[in-house]
């Protein structure tokens, strides 16, 4: 069985999440075929971000909000968007 191909994505953090994690950006390698929902589970495990109210987090890929079923591709810029409060 050949190894699963790997792709590289960047993940951006803002606001409360950025503050809790102490970083605004990281680069991750994920298996090809990984979806946004799976990435979120992995991040939750890795960083404990479910404690920050994962239900209220939205996700954007390449500057647009996406559904959690979106499948990641090489070079995607994934942004974890906490509750917005502009205005």
């Amino acid at each position: 069985m050949s190894a699963t191909p790997v792709l590289t994505v960047s993940v951006l953090y803002f606001g409360l999440v950025k503050e809790k994690l102490g970083m605004g950006r990281e680069t991750l390698e994920v298996a090809a075929g990984t979806g946004v929902d799976e990435l979120m589970r992995e991040l939750a495990e890795r960083h404990g971000i479910e404690d920050l109210g994962a239900g209220s987090l939205r996700v954007a890929v390449n500057l647009e909000y996406v559904e959690s079923s979106r499948v990641l591709v090489e070079g995607d810029e994934v942004a974890i968007i906490p509750p917005v409060a502009g205005g």
Binding site: L12, F14, G15, L16, K18, E19, L52, G53, S56, A60, L63, E64, Y65, A79, I81, P82, P83, V84, A85, G86, G87
Partner: protein, 152 residues
């Protein structure tokens, strides 16, 4: 195109770490075909939900926020016959009494300019990836977070 006009075009949708010049935002939507300009300015106020606010701190996902401003302006132009739209939001610390956001919309007549301006600020608040930390007397909280809800 005069240089001042070029500057305005470039500043029509922006995240600005500098104080917002409402006159410049308004001027950016001036149009010979437009007889109405509606503007909205959002300002840091001294009290929020019983807390005395010292300052607000905004953080934006700049690139996406500007993309959302542009998208919202396009959607507004599809709903109302508008001439021009400008949206500028501040980032960083905004002391009490300073503008955090400015929106200007020009149209042939006032009804559509006013309606579009109101729709734009309501929509911006729901979708623009901009985050706000309120520093109040005795603490600080990210607005919209679980910790914030516990203050309600």
């Amino acid at each position: 195109m005069p240089s001042s006009r070029r500057w305005q075009e470039a500043r029509v949708f922006a995240i600005s770490p500098e104080p917002i010049d409402m006159a410049a935002v308004t001027e950016a939507v001036a149009d010979e075909q437009a007889g109405a300009v509606a503007t909205f300015g959002g300002m840091t106020r001294a009290h929020n939900r019983g807390r005395r606010v010292i300052r607000l701190e905004y953080e934006a996902y700049d690139e996406m926020a500007v993309a959302e401003f542009r998208r919202l302006a396009g959607e507004a132009a599809g709903r109302w016959p508008l001439a021009r739209t400008a949206i500028v939001h501040r980032s960083g610390v905004v002391p009490v009494g300073e503008l955090s956001v400015a929106i200007a919309v020009s149209a042939e007549h006032r009804a559509e300019a006013l309606a579009a301006c109101a729709w734009l600020i309501d929509s911006l608040k729901h979708v623009a990836p901009i985050f706000k930390k309120e520093h109040f007397e005795g603490g600080e909280v990210w607005i919209g977070s679980l910790a914030d809800c516990e203050h309600e």
